[in-house]
């Protein structure tokens, strides 16, 4: 319960920051994808099932604030959270730069997947713009990772239940 509450607070903060502060400070016209960043970092810290749940919840929240077919971001981020959580298990030597690279790659791939699904559902997404947005938001998220990673880790650790996590 406490975990759900603090994760929701993180997701809502991400959505608010993204639509106010970071809408003004763009990287060549592209905003960061903070909900992707939160999902990826949580998946790295907590594993695939937590990543999938965080991605589903955060994605659904973002979908409900958009005038586009709902559920696309939730689908994307469920898969991103699960995949990143699985990748974590195969990393032998964790370098401090690892989260930065994982965030960059997973964000770019996630945004491309989002664009592909949205295109299939009839949303007007230009191929050139999609590629540009995917690469730039991946880069922007990577730049922001050193700032947000410690914050998300603190929230994740403080809300971690003592028992083994079983959904």
């Amino acid at each position: 319960m406490r975990r759900a509450l603090s994760w929701s607070a993180v997701v809502i903060t991400a959505l608010v920051l993204q639509s106010t502060v970071f809408a003004q400070i763009t990287l060549i016209g592209v905003k960061p994808e903070l909900v992707y960043l939160v999902t990826i970092v949580l998946a790295l810290l907590e594993g695939p099932s937590a990543g999938a749940v965080a991605g589903f919840g955060g994605g659904m929240a973002q979908d409900f604030l958009l005038n586009q077919p709902k559920g696309i971001t939730a689908l994307t981020l469920t898969l991103v959270g699960y995949a990143v959580g699985m990748i974590r298990q195969y990393v032998v030597t964790p370098s401090p730069l690892l989260p930065v690279f994982v965030v960059a790659g997973a964000t770019a791939v996630g945004v491309l997947f989002y664009g592909a699904v949205a295109f299939l559902l009839g949303v007007e997404i230009g191929g050139g713009y999609l590629t540009r947005a995917a690469l730039l938001s991946g880069l922007y998220n990577a730049i922001l990772t050193p700032v947000f990673y410690p914050i998300i880790r603190r929230v994740a650790e403080s809300s971690r239940t003592k028992k083994v996590f079983r959904w």
């Binding site: 809502i12 959505l15 608010v16 920051l17 993204q18 639509s19 106010t20 502060v21 809408a23 003004q24 016209g29 592209v30 905003k31 994808e33 909900v35 594993g47 695939p48 099932s49 999938a52 749940v53 589903f56 994605g59 659904m60 929240a61 973002q62 979908d63 409900f64 604030l65 958009l66 005038n67 586009q68 077919p69 709902k70 559920g71 696309i72 971001t73 939730a74 689908l75 469920t78 898969l79 699960y82 945004v111 989002y114 664009g115 699904v117 949205a118 559902l121 949303v123 007007e124 997404i125 230009g126 713009y129 947005a133 938001s137 079983r166 959904w167």
Partner: protein, 290 residues
Amino acid sequence: MALSRRVRSTRLLVISLVMASLLVITVDYRGGTSGPFEVAGRALQTVVGTLQSGVSRVLQPIGSFFSGLVHIGSLQAQNHRLQQEIQDLREKAQHDTSLRRLIDEFNSLYKLQQTYGLQGVAATVIGQSVNNFQWSVTINRGSGDGIKQDMPVVSGDGLVGHVVSVTSNTSIVLLVLDPDSFVDGRLSSSGVTGGVQGERNKDLQMSLVPPDTKVFPGEQVVTSGYQSGLYPPEIPIGSVSHVYIQDGGLNKLITIRPAVDFSALEIVLVVTGYLAPTTRTPPPSPTPSP
């Protein structure tokens, strides 16, 4: 043993979440967003909207001066109040350039409102779209102020977009920049109409214009205000920036630089009603007499 059970349960979890996402996509795609979905979405939009207005108030302390300005009922009362407001603000603005800029914005909005006989609710922009694939702004007025879905939104410079989502105290406005936005536009010199569609960060595109139409770079494009159209007539959309001939001369594609500077959008007017073209005085236009 324990590990394999955990792997299996994770897989089951992910599969059920994917199924849930697909279910939401399907239900929403078929246009069935009502009931629990809509309630949840509105609740979330209310929470986020409240926080957005808090953040934007911190970012732009000037915005609070306008919180007193809520509802605009009739043209008369509003005329009086706006003039009072402008006068008050002018006094405060002696040394404040950003405030002066807001007054200018407000003044031009007021002029536009007068010229086109618009009635509406003034609102402040408190946020923008939450992702990179929608061009929208959130404003600090909602159904409690009389705003409904599909209402047109203008600024002092021209057409901004239309309302796509409303909560009690905030609304989301889809900008004309969004590829999902279509406006019936009319070229001011020839009077020929066409469809104006958003092209993201680029200039708007006007299509469906007959190829033999004479188009001049820099000429104004205004809303055509077709019968029962969404937008009131004669609102400036932008000016022609380029004209391309497509398909071997069969089609004309016109790009339009928007009249509104969307990066500096602060005050908008949600149009709740407008006088019919016949009952209002025509806007001052440089039409030569025959």
